[in-house]
């Protein structure tokens, strides 16, 4: 592996390319009688200066094209990121979302003019309910965390309606994703943690001790955050129900279960999906997402308003919004959620069908276990190399102890081999964790290349640990000074904002 210097050069900020008088967009002239803005708005209400760049359209195109060259993506390479399900984002999804009959709809248009949109929402909700084995689904949440928050509101309302408002505790495994306790706390719940047992699953005795008359819910990810299926899940749900509480499923790892098993059948009362994970809507560098939430009958009245309802069937089907819902927790989004993401997810599910979804589940499991089998000799596998689900958690503890090389270093070195690193240091219960989820869309060839890179790096840890600790060498920047980023805060380009007064001519 060479340590060549990168050839992609620095890209200035768009503000650094700005030159007075340049302009990009081509706007029309004003074709109505114009009055002075000051007379219409009041001079005291007008701004003095507008510190925005002045660049040509070609400047804009070149700039963002150069930024593309400095960005890793699924279209460019594999992301073995555990818990993120970075599968291929089909282009037909993009084509669907761009159809004017979807993209150019206003959410407040008369309902008779948007029957196709409402039909799509209704059909997607129905399919998601079937996929997870629950009664009803809402698409309002904009992210998994948003869905978790919604669920917490519904749980709180459910208990209040039953005279059990004193239930102010949510039990969450220590290994859970940070959004779980954050969402519970947002709703004024106290969080009680439970540890995992030596087999990486929820410790049933600890759970029993935690369950009392003050518990409102138990939040669990299944398969759990170490990539293992909670085999006692039916028992867990029964015990939680017996204590008078509800069970929430964090559906981030749904990819492992598609067509194989369903949270509703396990006893869960409510769950969220990440459409931007399991259902291939693109990550976009950090969103948008859609955290669709599905519920069993007991929680259906609490869903946010409006819901989409259908009367009639087939060609006579008519769709409408239903807002008069006295037990709804309210509203958590300006409108109906990320509709254009729903279009993509709908397209994806219709493209796969039931058999296709089952294939996804099977190949996700197969690919992850293949990675586990091939790397088990080179890295420690958390929880003793048991069959995993769609992701495998390795530990670089041995590399750290024997050669002083950490999971972070191995991750950075992978970049030199052309791969995005796996998830690092999560879950917190595995030291020096490297969580790998290949997903079902990577070919065996690509997975083999990834495996070979990991093996090569394991060898480098022994033969040249210094090399691994100094990686990456071939990326556009080397390791960044994160401390300086906090202590010498530079959160906006100051020169762009210091500007002489006076509007442009």
């Amino acid at each position: 592996m060479s340590t060549k210097t990168p050839t992609v050069k620095m890209e200035p900020l768009i503000f650094e390319k700005s030159r007075a008088g340049r302009t990009g967009a081509n706007l029309p002239a004003c074709d109505v009688p114009a009055a002075d803005a000051a007379s219409l708005l009041g001079a005291e209400n007008l701004r003095d200066s507008l510190p925005l760049p002045e660049v040509s359209e070609l400047d804009v195109v070149r700039h963002f094209t150069h930024l593309c060259e400095r960005n890793y993506s699924i279209d460019g390479g594999m992301y073995p990121l555990g818990s993120c399900t970075m599968k291929y984002n089909p282009k037909v999804n993009e084509k669907a979302a761009a159809i004017p009959g979807f993209a150019s709809l206003h959410p407040l248009q008369p309902v008779e003019t948007v029957q196709g949109a409402l039909a799509l929402i209704f059909e997607l909700q129905t399919m998601l309910s079937e996929i997870c084995g629950m009664r009803e689904t809402t698409l309002q949440p904009s992210a998994g965390a948003h869905g978790e928050l919604l669920a917490m509101m519904m749980v709180k309302s459910y208990h209040a309606d039953r005279g059990e408002a004193h239930r102010n505790i949510v039990v969450i495994p220590d290994a859970a994703h940070g959004t779980n306790p954050a969402s519970a706390a947002r709703c004024n719940f106290k969080v009680k943690g439970v540890p995992s047992n030596s087999r990486g699953r929820t410790d049933l005795d600890a759970l029993d001790r935690a369950l009392d008359g003050n518990v409102a819910a138990f939040m669990l990810t299944n398969p759990n955050t170490v990539g293992l299926f909670e085999s006692d899940i039916v028992e867990i749900c029964e015990r939680v129900h017996k204590a008078g509480a509800l069970v929430y499923c964090d559906g981030a790892n749904m990819n492992a279960m598609l067509g194989i098993t369903r949270p509703g059948d396990m006893g869960f009362d409510v769950m969220h999906f990440n459409l931007h994970k399991t259902f291939s809507t693109p990550h976009g560098g950090g969103g948008p997402g859609c955290g669709a939430v599905s519920v069993q009958e007991c929680l259906a009245p609490y869903l946010p308003s409006p819901t989409v309802v259908r009367t009639g069937e087939g060609d006579a089907a008519r769709y409408a919004f239903h807002s008069d819902r006295p037990r709804s927790i309210g509203r958590i989004h300006s409108f109906y959620g990320a509709f254009l993401l729903a279009v993509r997810a709908y397209t994806y599910i219709r493209s796969n069908g039931a058999a296709g979804l089952r294939q996804i589940g099977e190949n996700a499991l197969l690919n992850a276990n293949y990675v586990r089998a091939r790397l088990a000799g080179h890295y420690d596998v958390a929880y003793g190399n048991e069959t995993c689900m769609h992701e495998v958690v390795l530990s670089a503890q041995r590399q750290k102890q024997e050669h002083g090389v950490r999971a972070l270093d191995i991750s950075k070195r992978l970049m030199d081999y052309g791969f995005h690193p796996p998830t690092n240091y999560f879950p917190l219960i595995v030291p020096e964790a490297l969580m790998i989820e290949p997903t079902e869309t990577e070919s065996k060839q690509t997975i083999d290349e990834f495996i070979e890179a990991m093996i090569a790096i394991a060898d480098e840890c022994e033969s040249d640990p210094e090399l691994v600790r100094g990686a990456p060498y071939t990326t556009v920047v080397s390791r960044l000074d994160e401390t300086m980023a906090v202590k010498k805060l530079d959160l906006r380009f100051e020169p762009a904002l210091r500007e002489a007064s006076g509007a442009s001519t």
Binding site: E482, T483, A485, V486, K487
Partner: protein, 130 residues
């Protein structure tokens, strides 16, 4: 190898105490600062606040972690090291000296007895420190 000065007392949660007459100076250990990484922010109490033994008195943050600070003994806070607010790296560089965090007037001397000595703390930290 993390440094563990023998003249100090220690807590399980990686704070150290230096006793000088009726007063105590408190900080975090070399082991703690190494675990945290570059320290970026200190959240310390105001002088005048009274602490109980074991009470949380603040937080120390690094780039990627937050750690709560627990008082080894009870007493009134007489001083907080606000002078290093903008040079928090001092806690990494000199955790037992210039990187001290608070000084308190000891309320109950017997509370010192429950603390670990250097050897006990060293063993505790080596074993994983929880």
């Amino acid at each position: 190898m993390a440094s563990v000065p023998s003249d100090l007392k220690y807590t399980k949660t990686h704070e150290w105490v230096r006793v000088e007459g009726d007063n105590a100076t408190i900080g975090i250990t070399d082991h703690a600062q190494a675990e945290l990484g570059d320290i970026t922010f200190l959240d310390l109490p105001q002088p005048g606040v009274t602490l109980e033994k074991g009470a949380q008195f603040g937080e120390v943050e690094s780039v990627k972690a937050v750690s709560e600070l627990f008082s080894p003994i009870g007493g009134e806070v007489t001083e907080a090291n606000s002078g290093i607010a903008n040079t928090t790296e001092v806690v990494n560089e000199d955790p037992f000296g210039k990187g001290w965090l608070i000084k308190i007037k000891i309320a109950e001397r017997s509370e010192l007895d429950g603390l670990m000595d250097a050897a006990a703390y060293e063993a505790h930290a080596e074993a994983g420190g929880h």
